[in-house]
């Protein structure tokens, strides 16, 4: 190398530039200061954490609206158990790679948001210590009943019961979902709306086709009863 200690001085020049730079260019400092919060706002127990809807850990600067953590069940209206989407079909329980979901189906049916009587999960536990937030359950769920939450402060004093989230802890409203993952929630709702529209359209088309077929049959009986000469003009 040219100068005896040339390489070492070049390296020291780089560290000096970084040392001085960190005072002027703030974007160099990537460690964001985890904001200090008075102790009363810290979560006491995963279960009863934010009971009031929509309250999200706004001031933690680390949670982006794409990050996914543990799953949560969705319900549409205000009263959770009336408008729950999950119908306890247990597909997610079968598909879950680490087997951390445990569902007990309800015996009798109940009216759900769409008015159709449906089963609902009497028990729906997710063992958060086993779940690896891989989002397979969200993919395989045909009813968009389970989506990923981004709540990560789940530390609990009790190692066993504390980390088993029961159905009531998991239930969150749809607009809470819009609050934490706006883009994804919007896309999902649009897709549901389209499917519903498509189903209605298909149903309407089927109903109409059935009605049309019924008319033709009625017309056909009418001709059959009048006589048989003009069969051929029906055929074409």
């Amino acid at each position: 190398m040219s100068l005896l200690g040339g390489g070492i001085f070049k390296g020291m020049a780089v560290t000096l530039r970084n040392f001085v730079g960190s005072y002027f260019y703030k974007d160099r400092l990537t460690t964001n200061d985890y904001s200090w919060r008075p102790s009363d706002k810290l979560p006491q127990h995963a279960g009863e954490y934010p009971k009031e809807e929509g309250e999200q850990l706004r001031d933690t600067t680390t949670v982006t609206n794409y990050s996914r953590n543990f799953p949560m069940l969705l319900h549409d209206g205000s009263e959770p158990m009336d408008t729950i989407r999950c119908v306890a079909c247990q597909i997610c329980e079968r598909e879950c790679p680490p087997q951390c979901i445990y569902i007990e189906k309800s015996t009798e049916k109940k009216e759900n948001a769409g008015g159709k009587p449906q089963f609902y999960p009497a028990k729906f536990d997710i063992d958060v210590s086993v779940c690896m937030s891989c989002q397979i359950c969200v993919e395989v769920c045909p009813f968009d009943a389970i989506v990923m939450n981004s709540q990560f402060e789940l530390s609990t004093p009790d190692r066993f019961g504390g980390l088993l989230l029961r159905r009531d802890d998991l239930l969150k409203s749809n607009d809470y979902y819009h609050n934490i993952h706006p883009e994804e929630a919007a896309a999902r709702d649009k897709r549901i709306a389209e499917e519903k529209a498509a189903k209605e359209a298909k149903k309407k088309a089927a109903a109409e086709a059935a009605r049309k077929k019924a008319e033709e049959k009625a017309k056909a009986d009418a001709e059959a009863s009048e006589g048989t000469p003009d069969i051929q003009e029906d055929a074409e």
Partner: protein
């Protein structure tokens, strides 16, 4: 895919080998294995100097339903029982000629699985053959250092065999998911 390796000349040169068309692999008797391997590595037509992957496959005794078309054209399924066997599969590549994988299998029985070790031919088989010994129980003749690689030395049994049943988990702790554990005991036990 890089162009594949033609295998007719091997069958010609070594009568003992045969070609398993369905799996696309060269079945080699363990006795001639080392000789064929060295020939494949040094012969200019192949120059398979890189053994990428060595693994074991365990086949249990099972009935296979086959559609057999008899002379008079009628198709009827006959069930044939496939004998249990253990395969050691080698994927060979050539780095100089950049040619595709030649799958090279050695077959042995499940009771005392004994296969010729190819570590003297390719050093890359050393650790992978130890793993097959550890997880499948296949004994590799003339392997320089055949010990368990992943399991601790006092471990009995070979976990990757199809008929391996888990020992009782003595470190079991009461966990919230014991309801789930019982459900598992009732329902499907991991084979």
């Amino acid at each position: 895919m890089s162009h594949t390796v033609n295998h007719e000349s091997i069958l010609g040169k070594f009568p003992g080998t045969n070609w398993d068309q369905e799996a696309g692999a060269l079945i080699v008797p363990t006795v001639q294995a080392k000789e064929i391997a060295t020939w494949l590595r040094d012969n200019d037509a192949f120059l398979l100097d890189y053994c990428s992957n060595v693994t074991g496959v365990d086949y249990l005794e099972c009935e296979v339903k086959e559609k057999v078309t008899k002379e008079d054209g009628t198709v009827e399924t006959v069930t044939r029982t496939e004998p249990s066997r253990m395969d050691v599969v080698y994927h060979l590549y050539s780095m100089q000629k950049q040619t595709g994988p030649l799958v090279f299998k050695q077959r042995t029985n499940r009771e005392q699985p004994e296969v010729e070790s190819l570590t003297p031919v390719w050093r890359s088989c050393e650790l992978q053959e130890r793993e097959v010994f550890d997880l499948f129980g296949v004994n590799f003749k003339s392997h320089p250092d055949q010990r368990r690689i992943l399991m601790w030395d006092e471990f009995e049994g070979h976990p990757m065999r199809k008929d391996y049943t888990e020992p009782f988990d003595y470190e079991w702790e009461p966990t919230p998911h014991d309801e789930i554990l019982e459900k598992h005991q009732r329902g499907k036990v991991i084979v």
